[in-house]
Amino acid sequence: MQTHKAKRVEITIEAVMERRLATALEEVGVTGFTILPVLGGSGRSGNWSREGQVSRASGMINVVCIIRPERLAPLLDAVGGILERHIGVISVTDCEVLRAERF
């Protein structure tokens, strides 16, 4: 099958920021994404684990956006602005997709 070049952006961010991240993505025209749950992790701010949570205050989520390459720059600007004050990481990988018209 015919595949097309795209970018796979994976953002690990605090769950409380979900709605704000979605809004920021929509503002730069990214409407497709998938949210994966996160069990725990470790970083400069220490360890955490979902089982130790009484509240949604400190859980994280993993947001995957597959986008056309030309959308990357505005997306990084939008997400970078949010990540600046909040903990979390973002990675960008080259990928191939089917049905490029969807992205």
Partner: protein, 330 residues
């Protein structure tokens, strides 16, 4: 004094405290005992539904008291005011930055519903009645403290912008409509509407097993508090630790004044003291992560959950009850 000691001793040996202690000890010993997140959340929905509903039924039984509105107003004022007290104490007693101190202060102005639930069940096993609408007061005290904390930060930073955080992003709406408040107030309203007849239908669910569920829930709280304390050992310098004990006592004093002024019953005064003494660890931390992400969550979670919550559960509640009894003369 004897009364306090006897109450405290009885309280310390009740199953709910012992299960909390079990969880705390297991976490310190690094046991992998844990309660699944969904179960913990399910139990907290259950506790909110049950306590709200019972409060509403009690309101239906006793009629709407003229002091209801006054008590709600007192709660809102306390929640607005206590963060300033906490902030002052923190800046005097600890080396916390303005942002960290404000974040902690927000927690102490707001309330912990589980502490309220525990106090209610201690009262009811001691046969002491309380105004049913105290549940609504609890709900009213959740949010105002957050505004005070954000105001403290804005003032300190000379009104500078906080990069998209702060109140801008619909945060107040999120807090007012957060799950706990909606369920608590909603169940309270349903209890008030359906009254004793409604209670009869679901009593076997919300009354009989209540204390047992609370035991399992407190086991989990103990696990979380213990894990927090273990990981944040380094943070807990004497000043912070002292604040975690002093602040609930201070809050309780304000609660006592308010309760006595309103002429609440013994149980009502004890609950008002407990609410003022308790520190939020659900709604406020979430709000702080959005509005003040620079504040260190390890500090406020450890204080609220690791120091103040256990203090209130074990010693605080019997102290507040004994003082309420002494002051209301019952």
């Amino acid at each position: 004094m004897d009364g306090i000691l006897a109450l405290a001793a009885e309280n310390l040996l009740s199953p709910i405290i012992l299960f909390f202690a079990l969880g705390f000890a297991a976490a310190l010993a690094r046991s992998e005992l844990s309660v699944p997140e969904a179960i913990a959340k399910g139990m907290s929905l259950y506790l909110l539904l049950a306590i709200g509903f019972k409060g509403g039924v009690s309101l239906a039984n006793h009629g709407v008291d003229a002091t209801l509105i006054l008590a709600l107003m007192a709660g809102v004022i306390l929640s607005f005011a206590l963060p300033f007290v906490a902030f002052g104490l923190l800046r005097a007693m600890t080396g916390l930055s303005v942002i960290d101190a404000a974040a902690v202060a927000a927690h102490y102005g707001s309330i912990s519903i589980v502490t309220f639930v525990a106090a209610s069940s201690v009262l009811s096993s001691a046969g002491i009645a309380a105004e049913g609408y105290m549940v609504a007061v609890a709900a009213a005290m959740e949010a105002p403290a957050i505004l005070s904390a954000l105001w403290l930060v804005t003032r300190a930073s000379g009104g500078a912008d906080h990069g998209g955080g702060g109140l801008g992003s619909g945060i107040l709406r999120e807090i007012l409509l957060n799950g706990s408040i909606v369920l608590l107030i909603g169940s309270f309203a349903i209890g008030a509407i359906t009254g004793q007849e409604g209670l009869a239908k679901i009593e076997a669910f919300i009354v009989a097993p209540f204390l047992g569920v609370l035991c399992l829930f407190l086991l989990d709280m103990g696990l979380i508090a213990g894990r927090g304390v273990r990981e944040a050992r380094g943070l807990l310098r004497p000043g912070l630790f002292a604040f975690g004990i002093l602040m609930p006592l201070t809050g309780a004093a304000f609660g006592l004044a308010a309760g006595a002024m309103l002429g609440l019953s013994t149980g009502g005064v004890a609950l008002m003291m407990t609410l003022s003494a308790s520190a939020s660890y659900i709604a406020v931390p979430a709000a702080m992560r959005v509005a003040l992400p620079e504040a260190n969550p390890a500090i406020y979670l450890t204080l609220a959950l690791g120091i103040t919550f256990p203090f209130n559960l074990t010693l605080g509640i019997p102290i507040y009850m004994a003082i309420a009894q002494a002051v209301t003369g019952s």
